[in-house]
């Protein structure tokens, strides 16, 4: 597939937005300005960007505990995201969800999720609704390699295939389930080997190459949209920071060499080099884009810091949808 320069800039922009948001979140966390847990998506930007770049606004995605990147790639607003990370009332979840539950249903982003594997059954439900309505919408379940070891994933994959639903299973294989390497927790090297067991096609792509991810996503999404059923994409990728936070208490479960090798394959910088080589962009173009988006991040941090915290009277709000006049 050949992609227009506009599409390449679009994919690049999604990746840079994720990178800048996550780097800023990491800095704020290190400065003790963010409460709670923080799972950064840095290094994996090509996956969310390449896949979401193949989706329409009314398509749905489910996410993981490492979910900021998915929301950004689906069009998430920096201000509301940063405010949510700080627990402010202007955040996406009004301070009720935080990093692990960040969501925007109006963008079809059905939530980051604190339970590993739990997003996939929900994506199956969204895909069922999309097929039921018959308007050609699709759903994408993002999940990590580790979540393919939990029952919910298998139930979801099997049910999606049994019901022939318009869904794409997008695996971000970053080789570690939290702090444990993949080869200690599964006896296969490629997660996509599991796809055949459910009766769906699957492909492996270089998850550090946004064009490769995007090509596979376009094909899988179109298959789903046209009634061809589920498929799986396994993107081989890597998280540059730790499972949780940035330096994560100095835990050493990966060698410096391993991290360094993967960083050489940085999905953004390698893509920029390619766009320049191919005459699609100049370094000055990228300087402008980074500067513009950095300003957006600065604005978002300011917005979040200036925003009020929710008041205690909000604790009982939105436990239930009000049913005034119903029944």
């Amino acid at each position: 597939m050949d992609f227009s320069s506009a599409k390449q800039f679009d994919l690049h922009r999604r990746m840079v937005r994720i990178r800048l948001f996550e780097e800023a979140a990491g800095r704020l966390a290190e400065a003790n300005k963010l409460p709670g847990f923080l799972h950064l998506y840095v290094g994996e930007e090509a996956v969310a960007s390449g896949v979401c770049g193949a989706l329409n606004d009314d398509d749905h995605i489910t996410s993981t505990h490492r979910g900021h990147g998915h929301l950004v790639a689906k069009g998430g607003d920096f201000n509301r995201m940063m405010a949510e990370l700080m627990g402010k009332s202007t955040g996406y979840c009004k301070g009720k969800g935080g990093s692990m539950h960040i969501s925007d249903t109006s963008l079809g982003m059905l939530g980051a999720n604190g339970i590993v594997g739990a997003g996939s059954p929900i994506a199956v439900g969204a895909a069922f609704a999309n097929k039921y309505r018959g308007k050609g919408q699709v759903a994408v379940a993002f999940f990590g390699d580790g979540s393919t070891n939990i029952g919910a994933f298998h139930e979801a994959a099997n049910m999606a295939c049994a019901l022939h639903l318009p869904i794409v299973f997008a695996c971000e294989n970053n080789e570690y389930g939290e702090f444990t390497p993949r080869d200690k927790t599964m006896a296969i090297t490629d997660v996509v080997d599991r796809a055949a067991g459910y009766g769906m096609p699957g492909v492996i792509v270089d998850g550090m190459d946004v064009i490769a991810v995007h090509e596979a996503a376009v094909e899988a999404v179109e298959r789903a949209r046209q009634g061809g059923g589920p498929s799986m994409i396994e993107a081989k990728t890597y998280r540059f920071y730790n499972h949780h936070g940035v330096q994560n208490l100095g835990l050493k479960y990966r060698s410096d060499e391993e991290v360094a090798v993967w960083k050489l394959r940085d999905p953004i910088f390698t893509f920029e080099d390619r766009m320049i080589e191919n005459g699609v962009a100049t370094r000055a173009n990228f300087d402008d884009i980074w500067a513009e988006l950095r300003a957006d991040i600065d604005t978002a941090i300011q917005f979040a810091e200036d925003s009020p915290y929710p008041t205690p009277d909000q604790i009982l709000v939105n436990v239930y949808t009000s049913m005034t006049g119903a029944n």
Binding site: H60, T62, G91, Y92, C93, K94, G95, K96, G97, H101, S103, D104, T105, S106, L110, G111, N113, G114, I115, A118, S120, P121, I122, A123, V124, G125, A126, A127, F128, A129, N130, Y132, R133, A139, G151, A152, E155, A156, N158, M159, A162, L163, V317, N318, V319, Y320, T321, M323, A326, N327
Partner: protein, 329 residues
């Protein structure tokens, strides 16, 4: 159709689902064996023939994915009814029920609506042993975000099920397996019974019995026997356990001054404990005796009829419980 048309509890459930599916094209059902087979208890009989495979869906034996299907479909605009064959199987699906369905709206700051109904069959009395007989309603009532309904008769079943389907929150409808064949007059038109509203099923002045699902019927039998001894029981069926109609319970306690709560579930940590606690907090000065509780012993449900018949409370245990409450001076 005459007003005294009778339906069984199972038929009342079926008619509620059917009428709501006719009224709202966004309503669909999914679960194990509910299609051509009509559900293992027949509660979905004929619905697939009437509404087609698109709207009455046979699923794999995958309780997490069944509830997940309901979560994802409801949050994207449909109105699912997802069936878990036995109540015991909520344990298999507990992450999707407790951590997803119940919490999405709150975690998303209100940016989600989940108009889904989980239907299931609870209760013992069929020698189905420890994994197919439980009354686990207390686990569900403990979770903010869920509503929990346990009807005791065909009329309430139809009205409550219609309200569950119309409800814009995740709701669990617990059918009692031993009531499925109970027959009683049920109006033909669609009607709702508000969730959270209890019912005084027998007015009385001497003692209040709070009982739901099968125990409400056992309480009615007990009240007849007690009436012969001049004890006038008021029986309250909360019908909805979450939210609980606390006002109705408190008012009755203030009137009769004596209360017994009867539940089929294990007594420890059950709904009876919550009800007793609320009554002593809000009506302590009116009580002539401690609020008492009837419930199952602290063991799994046993298999043999010789054991199970002693395990599950019945009208006799309620009679004894009321006499004990009345004996306090």
């Amino acid at each position: 159709m005459s007003d005294d048309r009778k339906l069984t509890y199972a038929q009342a459930f079926n008619e509620a689902v059917s009428q709501m599916m006719e009224a709202d094209p966004d309503v669909f059902c999914a679960g194990e064996d509910i299609g051509a087979f009509g559900g293992v208890f027949g509660t979905f009989a004929g619905l697939q023939a009437k509404f087609g495979e698109k709207r009455v869906v046979d699923t794999p034996i995958s309780e997490q994915a069944i509830v997940g299907l309901g979560v994802g479909a409801s949050v994207t605009g449909l109105r699912p009814i997802v069936d878990l064959m036995f109540m015991d199987f909520i344990c298999v699906a507990f992450d999707q029920i407790v951590n997803q369905a119940a919490k999405l709206k709150y975690m998303f700051g209100g940016d989600a609506t989940l108009p889904m109904t989980i239907t299931t069959a609870g209760g013992g009395g069929l020698s189905a042993a420890a994994q197919h007989s439980q009354s686990l309603e207390a686990l569900l009532c403990h979770i903010p975000g869920l509503k929990v309904v346990m009807p005791s008769n065909p009329y309430d079943m139809k009205g409550l099920m219609i309200s569950c389907i119309k409800e814009n929150n995740p709701t669990v409808m617990i059918k009692h397996k031993r009531l499925l064949g109970m027959s009683a007059p049920v109006p033909t038109e669609a009607y709702g019974i508000p969730l959270g509203k209890g019912n005084i099923i027998r007015p009385g002045k001497d003692v209040t019995i709070v009982a739901y699902a099968r125990m409400a019927n056992e309480a009615l039998i007990a009240a007849k026997e007690l009436a012969e001894d001049g004890i006038d029981c008021e029986i309250i069926d909360p019908r909805t356990l979450q939210p609980l109609d606390s006002d109705l319970l408190i008012d009755s306690a203030k009137k009769t001054n004596r209360v017994l709560v009867a539940q089929e579930a294990v007594r420890f940590g059950g709904l009876g404990a919550e009800i007793a606690s609320q009554i002593q907090e809000l009506a302590f000065d009116y009580l002539d005796a401690p609020v008492s509780r009837i419930g199952a012993p602290f063991s799994p449900v046993p298999f043999s009829p010789a054991l199970e018949s002693h395990y599950i409370p019945d009208s006799k245990s309620i009679v004894k419980g009321v006499r004990d409450v009345m004996a306090r001076r």
